[in-house]
């Protein structure tokens, strides 16, 4: 190993690191440079007064408000669907499943975690067609989107719950049992409270995934113009879909600028969720990567 080769290696590594920093600075800097001027109340509420819009007294036509409400609605619903099933499955995996059953279930969850989001969207779409045959009132809608997004983040929640429970120190796991507590008492009074931060940060990362995902909602009911969603079974607007739509269909400079504004808002939402999650527990982000 000559000195020269070692030098080259180190220089190469520095170039790579700086190139990555330059790329991400360029991407975010460009977005902020172009769009920061548009981020204000008019971008969100258009010509309607914010109070009227928030109380749903008037429709917002030229603002991002309906898209933001749609995103909040779809994220809340899907996380609401995914949390009970996901946490219960995670507890089962950590505390009840043993041997072959655990391996097989783990395999299924890994596969589910790897399925590309567009395929989950396609599944949601097929589900909508299937349900439509039996209940003619069901179309791709807020409901179908949130079910599909729940499927998308389910493996996240399962795995982060499972790992949070499994990574507790052995002494913590055994102490209540040694004092005569039953398995369920141990789980409810000791294990879950002790691993709450891990479970919670998993849930927040899952929320972030729901908020940013475009491919699923693209196929399951998000549209460009729908106003504030009126029912579970109506189509709706969403921020990521709006960004995608504007990028190809913008009619004038102002619409394009609102696309930059929407990107900044979405970026801020995701960054905020990310910081909350990493403040709650450091290092959990690693698990968030099991996703296409």
């Amino acid at each position: 190993m000559s000195r020269w080769m070692e030098r080259t290696l180190i220089v190469f590594c520095w170039i790579c690191g700086l190139a990555l920093l330059a790329a991400i600075t360029a991407i975010i800097g460009y977005l902020l440079y172009k769009g920061m001027g548009t981020v204000n109340l008019t971008l969100i509420f258009g010509d309607t007064s914010p109070v009227d819009a928030l109380l749903l007294r008037k429709h917002v036509f030229a603002g991002l408000f309906p898209a933001m409400v749609g995103t909040v609605a779809v994220v809340t619903l899907s996380v609401g669907f995914a949390i009970p099933v996901g946490i219960a499955s995670g507890i089962y995996m950590a505390e009840y499943a043993r041997g072959g059953v655990k391996t097989v279930l783990g395999f299924f969850f890994d596969i589910l975690a790897g399925v590309p989001s567009i395929v989950i969207g396609l599944f949601g779409f097929a589900l909508a067609i299937f349900l439509h045959k039996h209940f003619s009132s069901i179309y791709p809608s807020l409901f179908i989107s949130s079910l599909s997004l729940a499927v998308l983040v389910l493996p996240y929640i399962i795995r982060s719950t499972q790992f949070a429970l499994e990574n507790l120190p052995a002494a913590t796991k055994l102490i209540a049992v040694a004092l005569g507590a039953t398995k369920l008492q141990n789980i409810v009074y000791v294990l879950i409270p002790k691993s709450l931060s891990g479970i919670f940060s998993g849930v927040i990362l899952a929320t972030g995934r729901c908020a940013e995902d475009t491919a699923v909602i693209l196929l399951t009911g998000a549209v460009a113009f729908a106003g504030v969603p009126k029912s579970l079974f109506a189509q709706y607007e969403a921020l990521p879909f709006y960004i995608y739509y504007i990028s190809s269909q913008y009619a004038n400079q102002q619409e394009l600028l609102s696309g930059y504004g929407a990107s900044i808002i979405l970026l801020l939402i995701c960054a905020l969720l990310f910081f909350i999650a990493s403040m709650i527990r450091k290092g959990v982000t690693y698990q968030a990567l099991y996703r296409a």
Binding site: Y96, V115, L122, F123, L184, E212, T214, A215, S263, L267
Partner: protein, 287 residues
């Protein structure tokens, strides 16, 4: 707590886990059932190999398959050396402060929405590529794979760094005691010991690259053709699904997207099997 409550709780937890696993199967079943008319009579391989020309009644997905393979391979080719260098910098060469900062940035990058990458890609990268290569619209395999590289690098880097950091400190001290410098530690000790993590990271990132929709859909141009150069437009399997969805539900075009979905599902399942066997063959427990 009462005995029946214990039993009930266990029952509920078991059922939840079974439901979650069942969903994995259900997705596959739905894709299969909806795609069945095209798959019957052993047309599966024909479908993968045929070109796409609806006027002649051919609904093969070969161009999309090739588009997916080209874009994700080229994306990996950009991302791999970059991530390799970054992760070596973070865990070995950089001063502690800067390494920590770079690691934070990379973690934050995993949280950036894909659609934002696509959006910036259209208005920043596409014009740049168009200017530099003086031709076409700028929406091409090269543009998409450059942006894809930015998307998958964080996955690669975090996996690599994790593997590098897990090499026991005492091994490195041993090298240092023999008079080896940092570069020698990295090449002769860290790399040989961390290659399992490196391999897992590569496979997983490749899975991400295959499954990504928005970047290819927004900046690869979406022309149905097998690209003959990196400056030509291409359509991926994922983008094909997103684009065809609006058409008539009984048409063969529509059914072909389920073939795309099935192909992607099998790809991603293969990725999981590969990662698991990397874990199984080399003994250590997969996270």
């Amino acid at each position: 707590m009462a005995k029946w409550l214990e039993k009930l709780a266990e029952r509920i937890l078991t059922v939840s886990a079974l439901i979650s696993a069942f969903i994995t199967v259900l997705i596959f079943a739905f894709l299969l059932i909806f795609g069945l008319p095209l798959l019957q009579g052993g047309q599966w391989f024909g479908l993968l190999a045929d070109p796409w020309s609806p006027r002649e009644g051919l609904y093969g997905i070969r161009p999309m398959l090739m588009g997916t393979v080209y874009i994700s391979l080229l994306g990996m080719a950009f991302a791999l050396p970059l991530s390799f260098g970054c992760s070596a910098l973070i865990s070995v060469f950089a001063p502690r402060r800067f390494g920590g900062f770079l690691r934070k940035v990379v973690q934050l990058m995993t949280g950036i929405p894909t659609v934002v990458y696509g959006f910036v890609g259209i208005f920043l990268l596409v014009p740049m590529v168009r200017e530099i290569f003086q031709g076409g619209s700028g929406m091409c395999v090269l543009t998409a794979s450059l942006m894809l590289a930015v998307l998958i690098s964080p996955t690669l880097i975090l996996f690599f760094v994790d593997g590098f950091d897990r090499v026991p400190r005492s091994y490195l001290d041993a090298v240092a005691a023999l008079g080896g410098n940092e570069a020698q530690q990295f090449i002769f000790v860290i790399l040989p010991n961390a290659w399992r993590s490196v391999l897992s990271g590569i496979v997983l990132a490749f899975g991400r690259a295959l499954g990504d929709t928005l970047i290819a859909l927004m900046i690869a141009g979406n022309a149905v053709q097998t690209p003959s150069s990196i400056l030509e437009s291409a359509r991926t399997l994922t983008a094909h699904i997103a684009l065809v969805i609006a058409s008539d539900y009984d048409s063969p075009e529509f059914k072909s997207i389920f073939a795309c979905g099935l192909t992607l599902y099998l790809f991603s399942a293969a990725v999981v099997v590969l990662i698991r066997s990397i874990g199984a063959i080399f003994g250590r427990k997969e996270r």
